[in-house]
Symmetry: C2
Subunit: 313 residues, 2 copies
């Protein structure tokens, strides 16, 4: 059972109508627990919040430079994108650079998360493809890792594939845990997903925001990924998406990545950097989590009144 605490209470008139429970861990880039609510050691799946770290081997190996990927392309590789036209086109560009096409993506197809994009596709009589899958950027980045290392692409989803082994090893190092302690299961898009205690995931986000204590080439690679996500926040989510809106409001001081089932990771670019990992017990995103994220950022002093107003909707 999760050891969580009530994070939000919804009232109707004078009476309680709903409660959203969760747990939050705040850790600095040196690994010190700075604050927590509920069980900071709560261990659960990072889901899409792992994407910046799943991209890390591509950048720190030098492969991103060898392929000449732009920051815009790196941002969509760390995305749970909306399937808007500019996302789809960017993923196609990535695949083109590595000599592949959409048929190599094994993420499966779903309708664009952005309703107008889904409607437009429907009205044009087209079926959604793997390119519209919110994870298609991540998958194209994984394929790039395969191509760069001259590894087979047919089985890139397998937890035993060398790129997945490297990804898990890299995440474990960032979170400062033995690789064997990292939980592995299958994510919604079929790739391996990882479980860590919240305070360990928060450390990984603190290091994404502030890798100054790490050695090269990891330090530069983390800086480049965070910078790419913050420079092109619309690539990481899209229209009316929390990740996008928070990074816009953060103006280069906040890097974030949400995950399914009420997960969220935040990195604050300060010295030392701070990382936050939080999990809503009920896995809900729209209702409880987004409000918790904004309130956490407010309590950490990272949002001024103007930025909070921008995130109000």
């Amino acid at each position: 059972m999760f050891n969580t605490v009530p994070l939000i209470q919804v009232m109707r008139g004078s009476r309680l109508e709903a409660v959203f429970r969760g747990a939050v861990a705040v850790v600095d880039a040196d690994g010190r627990l700075a604050a927590s609510l509920g069980d900071a050691g709560l261990t659960t799946w990072l889901r899409s919040s792992a994407k910046p770290f799943q991209l890390l081997p591509l950048v720190e190996s030098g492969a991103a430079d060898r392929f000449g990927f732009s920051d815009r392309e790196l941002a969509v590789m760390a995305a749970s994108h909306n399937g808007e036209e500019f996302h789809v086109q960017t993923v196609l560009d990535i695949l083109g650079r590595i000599g592949l096409d959409a048929s190599a993506l094994q993420c499966g197809a779903h309708s664009p998360l952005h309703t107008p994009a889904a409607r437009a596709l429907e009205n044009a009589g087209q079926q959604p493809s793997a390119l519209h899958n919110n994870c298609s950027g991540k998958h194209s980045g994984m394929l790039a890792q395969c191509v760069d290392r001259q590894l087979p692409i047919a089985n890139y989803l397998s937890p035993q594939h060398p790129i997945q082994v490297t990804i898990k090893q890299t995440l474990a190092e960032l979170a400062d845990v033995p690789p064997d302690s990292v939980g592995v299961a299958v994510d919604g898009c079929s790739v391996p997903t990882f479980a860590l205690p919240l305070h360990r995931a928060a450390l990984a986000f603190a290091r994404l925001a502030d890798p100054s204590g790490l050695s090269e080439p990891r330090r530069s690679a983390l800086r480049r990924i965070a910078a790419a996500m913050m420079a092109f926040p619309e690539m990481v989510g899209g229209t009316l998406r929390l990740d996008t809106d928070v990074m816009r409001a953060g103006k280069g001081r906040i890097v974030v990545k949400g995950g399914a089932e009420g997960y969220y990771g935040i990195g604050l670019l300060q010295s030392p950097g701070l990382g936050v990992a939080l999990k809503m017990e009920d896995g809900n995103e729209g209702r409880g989590r987004n409000a918790v994220v904004v309130e956490a950022l407010r309590q950490l002093g990272t949002l001024d009144a103007q930025a909070r107003a921008a995130l109000e909707p």
Copy 2:
């Protein structure tokens, strides 16, 4: 704070990914607590689960017969309907019988809950009206109570309006609590909504299913309302709606009415009747609550394998 217990656990691989908490009270028509999970005395808003009882004064006063309302019309008065064409037409018929039109409805407009109905409206270039509001049947029933009692209709939403006072008094009697103890707030559609302890709301549902211990005309009125809802379950919800599907599967043995924020009321037509009231702590409906409802019905022995299979989706 709610005193709830975990009702559903969602796993990914070998690890917990989400937990849905709630409380459940099962009470027989004599008011005996038969079973509970969490706090049977948890007091919160019934929301739309109160609709069968908000309709009761219209039927037990004889007004429903004076207007010649059909069971189909009574069912939509107890509904949170989908705004499908047949719902809208039935509400129009009700308003016609009482000499009013849609302009008398003060529920406000929202798009039909049923996506194809909402799309059809949009494609026809039409705006949703108050008729499409899921509560328009309830509002038309309240207007009928006004017209029958020759009371003003302009202020029928007010908690002080005589029909709302009668409704609250009637619900308190069914739940066997002092009227002053019933919490009152404003529902999403602007009418008063009511708070009761779960085991008291469960008693009201037990009596809806089995009013044999009550005197006339309430006994017959409750029988008629339950029969109307079970005979026309598509009027109470609509296509792909839990209330509709459960009553269809129940074949005249189960009367149900869901409410917003994870509330649910169930009446089992047996001797003595059983009532169930349950609340999901996080107010979620689609994910946790619907599974809890089906599992509760299974554990109460009311669904055979065929009925459970029908509810699987």
